[in-house]
């Protein structure tokens, strides 16, 4: 009797696992479809649009650097350790950070 009971339990567990697997399969398929759609969308962008994006990114980066440099010159740390804390004298790490940005 005990063995039969055990087998029944195993069967139940297997069934729930199977159900889970099926729901995951559905989810996986939907993700794949979306991925394909996004890829197609991405390819449809022309060179001019891509150039615009790159240019915008560079502009944002430049502005970011200028903002940080200004913040530093106004007397605040821009290194991640002491970001925005008032500084006394120059800080090696802020300067290293700003220099790396320039490269």
């Amino acid at each position: 009797m005990q063995l039969t009971q055990a087998l029944v339990e195993v069967e139940e567990k297997l069934q729930t696992l199977l159900q889970e697997l099926r729901s995951l399969q559905v989810y996986c398929r939907s993700l794949e479809e979306e991925n394909l759609r996004l890829k197609r969308e991405l390819c449809s962008f022309g060179d001019s649009e891509q150039a615009k994006v790159v240019e915008n990114a560079a502009k944002i980066e430049g502005e970011g650097h200028d903002n940080l440099a200004r913040l530093y010159n106004e007397g605040f740390h821009v290194c991640h350790l002491h970001f925005a804390q008032p500084r006394e004298g120059d800080c090696l790490f802020c300067m290293g950070f700003l220099r790396k940005d320039e490269l």
């Binding site: 290194c79 991640h80 350790l81 002491h82 004298g89 120059d90 800080c91 090696l92 790490f93 300067m95 290293g96 950070f97 790396k100």
Partner: protein, 368 residues
Amino acid sequence: MKILCTRDNLLNGVQMVQRAVPSKNALPILSGILLKAQNNRLYFTGTDLEMGIFCSTPVQVIEEGSAVLQARIFSDLVRHLPDTTIEMELIPGTKTVSIRYNPSETSINGMDPEEFPVIPELDDNLTIRLRTQIFKHMVKQTAFAAALDENRPIFTGVLLAIENSQLRMVATDTHRLAYKTGVIESTFETAWQAIVPAKALVEVSRLIKEEDESITLVLTDNQVLFRFGDTSVVSRLIEGQFPNYKQVIPSSCKTKLRVGTKAFAEAVERASLLAREGSNIIKLKIQDNVMVITSNSPDLGKSYEEIDIENQGEETQIAFNSRYLSDVLKVIETDEILIELTGSLSPGIIRPLEAENYLYLILPVRTN
């Protein structure tokens, strides 16, 4: 506890561990030294919970046991003991230790050894070994560059890192940075790094005796143990991420000059006397083959120093805090140094001539 020993036995142990005993502390037990007699040795322990020092000395143990005595009074007594056989005994049923040196005797009231903090034993699985001479040099040339400001704990420590089977020590207070590498004896493949309080490294360096040949470092996630001779020092590590020091070291320079260490150090010392108080600014003007060092204090006067150099690059001008310069000139041992500069705003680099294993980075002061 009952032992027979000499004054030197006690003096050595007490002087060693006393360095860790805090001068003032809310916990009275920490003002004591733990004495433990076992296996014909007397073990001494002192700690301020940040750092612990242990050492041991051979004595004749008649009865094993332990006691805690006030560090101040015990060390003062030991210093004044006569040079004869000394008997120390914990009076049974009390915390008082009787110290007998025939025909006299002093009794000191102690504290309960059970209350003394247990310093955890560290596993030996991650250890590195290096020569004490190398270790001492490394500490001497880096630890001074660490910050004293406790508000920024990371910079009060020295980064110890192992890369390519070499030990690196890096210390910075964000205005200057010292970097030194040293050879380790044991092979150590894994990359590892930790931030050790500069104070602990200086203390270890001070405790190392001339006859101690090598020092072993035992590493764990939050503590490091230094073992040399009969002494061990355990220190907590400073938590946090040390900033990327490699990023701040410039890879090229426009001015590269060679100068005699002694002449430069003396000129800097003299110029610093007349540097404006507080900022300690001295100016360096690098020309073809001379360097002019000037300082000016409106109240005191001004200084003009000229020394010969060998310049292989552009002429330039730069201003430094003289303290940062004289600090490094005190620890460089070669006769000549190399100075690398790029304009008056970029950090300058000072290295000993023909020694690749040391580098000192110093930020200039803006003068206008």
